[in-house]
Symmetry: C2
Subunit: 258 residues, 2 copies
């Protein structure tokens, strides 16, 4: 197997499964193309599929009773969406929004839960990811509360950049404002500042990162912390894979989802 499916998955979570576990799992997955702006779930919706990004990424967005929204997490090829399924729940309290278009593996909820029940390894993997998510969301809470917009925006751009292989990002100020929970004019100001410093370049819904190192300077520590959180998990999860760079927590460095 592996040759009978379109292309071998590069989702980092699934990749770390031993061949014996991976094969039957993939047999129940299908490859789908996620499109930009696609809503996989609204708060309260039933979850039909667990989704493992191959080369796309998805935002998890909390919604308050008032309708105010805030992105609390992001899942790219290092993760998955559909966490409640792992916990035996069928509904999502978070909105799931496709932010980066591209292929993903998906598996029906029922099938996913079957596999979970049968494979302790798969379940362990999901648990480790869940632990990351928990820590990451907690951190996001504090970050959104304490850090200035410009730094948070830099962080967000870096995280997104990591998940899109350096392509230009397809997003408007309006959209960014809803992710970061500020008004659009605030984004314009922050973006202008970053652009003036030569860190990014943007025009009508397209942002390109021009100077990663500079952006890292401009971002809050949370970016580095996030990288560490994921690195730690990926190291635990795939000891087989040699993770060349990035191992020490202190110094700033980019996190390459590769």
């Amino acid at each position: 197997m592996g040759s009978t499916i379109p292309f071998s998955p590069t989702n980092r979570l699934l990749d770390s499964l031993p061949e014996k576990e991976k094969e039957p799992f993939l047999a129940d997955c299908e490859t789908v193309e996620m499109t930009f702006g696609q809503l996989l779930a609204e708060p309260g919706d039933n979850i039909s599929y667990a989704v493992f990004p191959l080369d796309c990424f998805i935002s998890l967005i909390a919604t308050l009773a008032s309708g105010d929204q805030l992105e609390v997490s992001m899942a790219g090829k290092e993760g998955m969406v559909g966490i409640p399924l792992v916990l035996g729940a069928q509904t999502s309290a978070l909105q799931m929004l496709v932010q980066g278009a591209g292929p993903a593996l998906r598996i029906s909820s029922a099938s996913f839960q079957n596999h979970l029940a049968r494979s302790p390894i798969l379940e362990g993997l999901m648990k480790r990811y869940l632990n990351v998510l928990l820590n990451q969301i907690s951190q996001s809470a504090a970050c959104a509360h304490y850090h200035a917009l410009e730094a948070r925006m830099a962080r967000w751009l870096l995280m997104t950049h990591d998940r899109t292989h350096g392509e230009q990002l397809h997003l408007t100020h309006e959209f960014l404002s809803s992710m970061l929970g500020v008004r659009r004019a605030g984004i314009t100001l922050a973006a202008t500042a970053l652009q003036r410093r030569g860190l990014i370049n943007y025009q009508r819904g397209r942002i390109t990162v021009q100077n990663r190192a500079g952006l890292e300077e401009a971002s809050c520590q949370c970016y580095a912390t996030d990288c560490d959180i994921y690195d730690e998990m990926l190291e635990q999860v795939s000891r087989r894979t040699s993770i060349s760079e990035s191992s020490h927590a202190q110094d700033k460095r980019s996190f390459h989802f590769g």
Copy 2:
């Protein structure tokens, strides 16, 4: 059994275990008295015990690289602390701080994980709780970002009040300020406003709730949402128990941890 231990547990999670599961679990627990201000774990610490509050409560606090802190969740008799253990992790990224003194059951990490591995019912229970936690933390993130201090403080007081059976709360402005992530002077202002409205009364580290309904008015919707989140879980978890009041989501009402 149950008569051989000091008193029957009233932790709502454990209570919902069937007798057959509860008995061996409790046999490995010990009752301990949590004291106010006790630090169960600092970020990064190993977790020695899972703790199930009987009549106390514990805050979970996120810490940023800068040292800034923000409370992201609270566990009373409706919950537990030591969630990472459920996920196979041994360390806590969050600080765990005892806020309400009183008895709790605790079980060593190893023993807890043993029970988890053997009892699918226990594990299911923990998963449901974990799901609640995830949703609750996500909501807290948005709440801390969007809502005004006074409303957040009202919410916090209500949540704490629910977990202390109407006793007066032992907390200083200084302390509250670190929970809510604002400076102390801000708490003084908000507290003064609430007191002027006759909702609370305070003096040197002691706060009493004078008018619950009024406080609910003053709090953000997040309080009601929180109650709903927990109610939903507890209903799922203990169908046996007749949960008399509180079932509909819309209207504001207090949540009685009883």
